[in-house]
């Protein structure tokens, strides 16, 4: 698509304000990424897949300042046995982080890995590059080019505990760009947890290469920091008989765009992406998912639920592309919103594009108010209106939360959601 007149200026201004970090192996990949970025230009409102979400605050040179959210809750996942890695405003905090050693994994920082023989050399930016077609994802190319740090995680075996990347936000003007790269060898297993407010503006890419028979689980929570602006991308490639499961909980945030791009390239693989979000007021949340089936007998599942009130906006753009030859594909997609009032809106664009004949794909999108009969039933048993509304809200979100495989994590997320809802009504 031809670029508009302003687009190159917008893009060049942003590039000029950034400096390319890194020496050694990553330089070539970063320079390639700049070329990709220039070729498409930064997103504008008229671009496809940006119709419902204004990209300007994500693309402008300086971020909108964002107040640091005073949180009195204990951080999520605190009680778990995990390996903790902390970034403050996008800067690695060695003091606060655990020792980066865990059996079956090699963990390093992108900023420090400059050996030319590094494993990441052949992977960094490649899944992001694949993910640029058929739909451009310029903010991800920008990330690959200018990421200041991130974790390089090479999993060779079955890990005994999750890696928890914790983000902290301390500066009202921070503009963080992090790029994580995760490679799971055949049969390897890893769970990554992410939580915490990252920065005033956050651009994050996670590339995940899931080897044959490997399994990757992600549970992340985008916290209650109201003024957050974030654009995140997950790019995953799945080998034969591998499993990928990702769940995201989002609350608040004036601008959150989460892209998830998955390619099923090996037979019998399975990818599940789920999101539960609760938005109130000046909240804008966009889930854009693109799943490509390019192998036989693979399964994919998208479950997205949004609860919106006081003028909040939720967006879902989800696509399943089944390539010729990807027979026996089982694709499922559901996106639903629960609108607690008439001021809120849910904009959904579900898409199926199928070039194989022996497939079962279904998608559905609904938008509705709370079930008045259920509400009355609960109240008639003595449950007060606010509590009954919360119960029905949690039950609406349940199908997404159930996508979390580990029971302890599921419980933790459920407890936190219940607390958030309870807190909202004071």
């Amino acid at each position: 698509m031809a670029q508009t007149a302003e687009k190159p200026n917008l893009t060049e201004a942003r590039i000029a304000a950034l400096s390319m970090p890194g020496k050694g192996w990553s330089v070539a990949a970063r320079e390639d990424a700049v070329r990709r970025l220039r070729a498409t230009g930064l997103p504008e409102r008229r671009d496809e897949y940006w119709k419902y979400t204004r990209p300007d605050t994500l693309t402008q040179v300086a971020p909108e300042p964002a107040a640091v959210f005073e949180n009195d809750e204990a951080p999520l996942f605190d009680g778990l046995d995990r390996l903790k890695i902390v970034f403050v405003d996008g800067v690695f905090d060695a003091e606060a982080s655990d020792d980066l050693s865990l059996e079956g994994v090699r963990i390093e920082r992108l900023a420090e890995a400059d050996s030319d023989l590094h494993w990441a050399r052949d992977l960094y930016g490649t899944l992001e590059t694949n993910g640029q077609t058929p739909v451009a994802r310029p903010l991800a190319a920008l990330n690959t080019a200018f990421a200041t740090d991130g974790m390089l995680i090479h999993v060779t075996g079955v890990t005994s505990k999750p890696i928890n990347i914790v983000y902290r936000h301390e500066s009202t003007t921070s503009d963080a760009i992090l790029h994580h790269l995760i490679k799971l060898d055949a049969g390897a297993e890893l769970t990554v947890l992410e939580n915490g407010p990252a920065a005033a503006r956050f651009n994050k890419v996670m590339e995940v290469d899931v080897g044959d028979g490997a399994s990757f689980h992600q549970v992340r929570a985008q916290g209650r920091d109201h003024e957050r602006r974030a654009a995140t991308h997950i790019f995953a490639r799945l080998g034969a008989e591998s499993t990928f499961k990702s769940f995201t909980l989002t609350a608040n945030g004036v601008m959150t765009r989460n892209d998830c791009v998955i390619e099923l390239t090996g037979d019998d693989a399975s990818a599940h992406v789920a999101g539960a979000c609760v938005g109130d007021g000046a909240f804008h949340h966009d889930d854009t998912v693109f799943i490509t089936h390019d192998a036989v007998n693979c399964e994919s599942r998208q479950v997205f639920k949004k609860v919106l009130c006081n003028g909040a906006t939720g967006v879902f753009q989800g696509k399943i592309l089944v390539k010729a030859g990807a027979q026996k594909t089982d694709g499922y997609q559901i996106s639903q919103s629960l609108l607690l009032d008439e001021d809120s809106q849910f904009l959904a664009k579900p898409e199926l594009e199928i070039y194989a004949d022996d497939v079962a794909c279904s998608h559905g999108s609904t938008s509705g108010a709370i079930d008045e009969d259920a509400l009355f039933y609960l109240r008639s048993r003595g449950v007060p209106l606010a509590e009954a509304t919360d119960m029905l809200t949690l039950s609406f979100l349940a199908e997404a939360v159930e996508e979390i495989e580990a029971e302890n994590l599921r419980e933790e997320i459920n407890t936190r959601m219940a607390a958030w809802l309870g807190r909202r009504r004071g």
């Binding site: 079930d371 259920a374 008639s380 048993r381 449950v383 007060p384 119960m391 039950s395 609406f396």
Partner: protein, 251 residues
Amino acid sequence: MLSIKNLNVKLEEEDKQILKGVDLEVQAGKVHAIMGPNGSGKSTLSYVLSGKDGYQVTEGSATLEGNDLLDMEPEERAAAGLFLAFQYPVEIPGVGNMTFLRTAVNAQRKARGEEEVSAADFLKEVRAKAKDLKIDAEMLKRPVNVGFSGGEKKRNEILQMAMLEPKMCILDETDSGLDVDAMKLVAEGVNALRSEGRGFLVITHYQRLLDHIKPDVVHIMADGRIVKTGGPELALEVENNGYADIMAEVA
């Protein structure tokens, strides 16, 4: 216990009068039955008493132990001791039956300024009461009424009633859709709750439930009014002759 005076109710959205001056007095310890043809307003009466939206009271009053029911939120009516066993219990996916019951019991206790019941005590009590109603552990774990058969839903209503120990129980066609065995179970559940301090209003279309739950007073409702009141023999009269005779008689 329950006192209804000249209750007139219309639909909120339409100009349609449904209850046209209902008078009814249920004393503590008594079981009253309301029978009547379909569409006579029996369910509407139960909904208006428990506070469902969509109805407008144009005249009259309803009090529970002297407290104005019509002025309370549905949850306040429940905490005040009113219970409605629904004609069509609602399915609530994603909310566990057990969680729901415990939330309800504790919410009512809280509203009355009582201590919450401990998880262990609650569990013990639910299990015992569920067993009497032949409700198994599996059913308690499932989402509220989801995938329950008609009979299971009705037994689940009675379990809720047993756990909440209300003062005034309204049962709306709890017998419909039940086979004989299930009806006996439900009736036993209700009879076990009969006591000095508790009133019952049993709405039914057929007489057969009243063989098991013996009423003290029987009312016939037609076209939004109580048209006849009598003893248990009135139910038998309906059973034998249908409503037509009574309607003709009061017309």
